[in-house]
């Protein structure tokens, strides 16, 4: 039952990305092209997604635990540090170069199209490179703050 809801969340997420236009790299590039022929659509995607989540997240956190599992897995508190800034900065460069972020790219692999498969293969390699090269970021002292919450990263 738990995994069925996870599966349905994945399906709904993919449909949302497709309907929103997130799986069209030209549209993402046009959103970032504020000095060219700007397409502001992505602002509405963000507003819709954040708007509904802002309300439902609060509602959900009033519960002691999720409906089908025992723990909420929320990211632990970490500082705004160089890792975050450099990581987000590099991510943005790749996003602007390609018009793809990870979710829409994964969804688009069903087309079997060489360009998106190339992007996804390189993305997986980039993640593996990080895992091979990384020195583990020290865990924050207050990692286990709050009851019933485990650690994870955001995205």
């Amino acid at each position: 039952m738990g995994l069925l809801m996870v599966f349905l969340s994945g399906v709904l997420f993919a449909l949302g990305l497709g309907i929103a236009g997130m799986t069209q790299p030209t549209k993402i590039i046009a959103f970032l092209d504020i000095f060219g022929d700007w397409d502001p659509s992505l602002i509405l995607v963000m507003a819709g997604a954040v708007g509904i989540n802002l309300v439902l997240y609060r509602f959900t956190l009033r519960r002691e635990k999720p409906i089908l599992e025992d723990l909420f897995t929320t990211p632990s508190k970490r500082p705004i540090n160089a890792r975050l800034a450099i990581g987000a900065g590099l991510f943005g460069i790749g996003w602007g170069l390609s018009g793809y972020c990870p979710g829409p790219a994964l969804v688009s692999t069903v087309t079997g199209w060489g360009s998106v498969l190339t992007f996804v293969a390189a993305m997986l390699l980039g993640m593996l490179l990080f895992q091979w090269l990384q020195t583990e970021e020290p865990r924050p002292v207050d990692a286990a703050q709050g009851s019933g919450q485990a650690e994870s990263s955001c995205g």
């Binding site: 997420f13 949302g16 819709g48 999720p66 929320t74 987000a88």
Partner: protein, 143 residues
């Protein structure tokens, strides 16, 4: 602005938000694609079942899109294959180092009022805008 799609993008955004809200309400998990993908690549089995199931759902959703709304899935890119490969490396490495991407920081993090996610989102939007400016208007398109 002739490609502006306010209605479809708002509806799509709400569906994206509902998908994230439902994963949190039922399963207590944060919907972050780069975390889900990166964790599937490490050798530990722990925490893989739900992540594999989520990716299966994403792909099933992709197949459904191909059936009912095929024009949503682009098969053309303004960028060259070499540029897409470099971009993929940067997206994979950067989102793992920064612990989040457009979904985890941009949607879930901001909805949780995380200042860290707000900062990350501001930074990747800024470097994305500069990159597109340089690629489109200084270096002539990157094709």
């Amino acid at each position: 602005m002739e490609n502006f799609t306010p209605v479809a993008s708002t509806i799509g955004g709400v569906l994206i938000g509902l998908a994230a809200a439902m994963l949190f309400l039922f399963n207590g998990k944060i919907l972050g694609i780069s975390n889900i993908t990166a964790e599937l690549l490490n050798p530990r089995w722990h925490g893989k079942a739900w992540r594999l199931t989520f990716v299966a759902g994403l792909l099933a959703g992709g197949l459904l899109l191909q059936l009912i709304y095929p024009q949503a899935l682009s098969v053309s890119s303004p960028r060259s294959l070499a540029l897409l490969a470099i971009a993929g490396l940067l997206v994979g490495y950067g989102s793992t180092l920064g612990r989040g991407c457009t979904s985890g920081h941009g949607i879930c993090g901001i909805s949780r009022l995380s200042v860290r996610s707000l900062a990350a989102t501001g930074i990747f939007m800024a470097t994305g805008i500069v990159t597109v400016y340089l690629t489109n208007h200084v270096f002539g398109g990157g094709a």
